[in-house]
Assembly symmetry: none
Homo-oligomer: 210 residues x 2
């Protein structure tokens, strides 16, 4: 049984969703309020729900601010935004604040039910339109540079050691080889990467350039 909470200031919509969800066999929806503040009050005295449907435009604190506060206090609550807003800023702010899903308000009741189940199974429900924006975020990013490390497996081991902040001695111990071998590998790594210090190798590696 998945326990659902709702924060939504439109009474009609709120009641409709609550009744529908609470009617389902595998869901329970006992708490539906019209502001984050009210929900926080409620949470002080009751068990937290598993999933929360949250509007963005709310009286008092906005839903996005609410995510942060609720996730901080009750990190196990999974929050799905349910809103009319589909602009990138609100979407990304919500996701960054910790929302696990984002549905537009034209979503049908059965779809909302599916989304909640989907979430409980480790998914992340999103309206298709939202998913598209999220995906486009990535292709808008700079085209990935090709790492193509010419490094051998052993050389990459050594790099890992360097990134972990180990001295040559400790790297030698970790891989059970002599410190001179470590030195030899490092010399080859420097040559291949065209660098000449540990620092540059670590920097390159952490920038994903290896």
């Amino acid at each position: 049984m998945i326990d659902v909470g709702i924060v939504e200031d439109n009474v009609k919509i709120r009641n409709l969703i609550q009744r529908y969800l609470d009617m389902q066999e595998n869901l329970s929806c006992k708490i539906a309020v019209d502001s984050v503040e009210e929900m926080l009050e409620h949470l002080k005295e009751h068990d937290p729900p598993n999933v929360m449907l949250m509007d963005i435009q709310l009286p008092g604190m906005s839903g996005i601010e609410g995510i942060g506060i609720i996730k901080k206090e009750y990190p196990d609550i999974e929050i799905i935004m349910l809103t009319i807003y589909h602009d990138s800023h609100k979407i990304f702010d919500s996701l960054c604040a910790g929302a696990s899903g984002y549905l537009l308000k034209h979503t049908t009741l059965p779809e909302i039910k599916n989304s909640i189940e989907n979430l409980a199974e480790g998914g992340a429900p999103m309206s298709p339109q939202i998913a598209r924006k999220v995906i486009e975020y990535f292709s808008a990013q700079e085209p990935q540079k090709k790492p193509v490390s010419d490094l051998t497996a052993r050389e990459q081991d050594i790099v890992t050691g360097l990134v972990d902040g180990l001295s040559y001695k400790l790297i030698a111990d970790r891989f059970d080889i002599s410190i001179d071998t470590v030195r030899a590998h490092i010399r080859n790594i420097y040559k291949k990467l065209h660098v000449n210090s540990k620092a540059e190798v670590i920097a390159k590696s952490l920038r994903g350039e290896i």
Copy 2:
């Protein structure tokens, strides 16, 4: 009518999907090959499909490399990855390269059909597991935008120098101070960050922990 192409090296899977899709009223799937190279050959002489299903592990060029090449030549083709890989790197590399969807191979045929329709309607089909990773990318990214570095401005300058792979001498030159001053700053930085080597400072910095 949506025209679909398939790049998949497993003949059984490829034929199965092709036959199923081509059987649908609103879909057509005439071209199904087992490598990106073959697909590129085909595209030279035929109209490009609207949607392409693409595996990652392929003979010759990988599917991820393929995305970039195909999207560059034929930007209107929407590419859905269809693969067994669910590791973050492959997901994000694919999306950054320009994929519009990402499905895991256990996806059923009707779900694949839905995904193609979803894509045509401006959505971005993703297996729930994938959607979750994509969403988590955001909440993992932003939250600590200000890691509250206790470092002074000068100390941060020095850190920048270290990250750039400079020696103390070069850092001293860059900021026109003596090497002993650089040493002094670095000692303070080490104390504040609780580390004791250049390597750790660089690692912390590039991980955004400063």
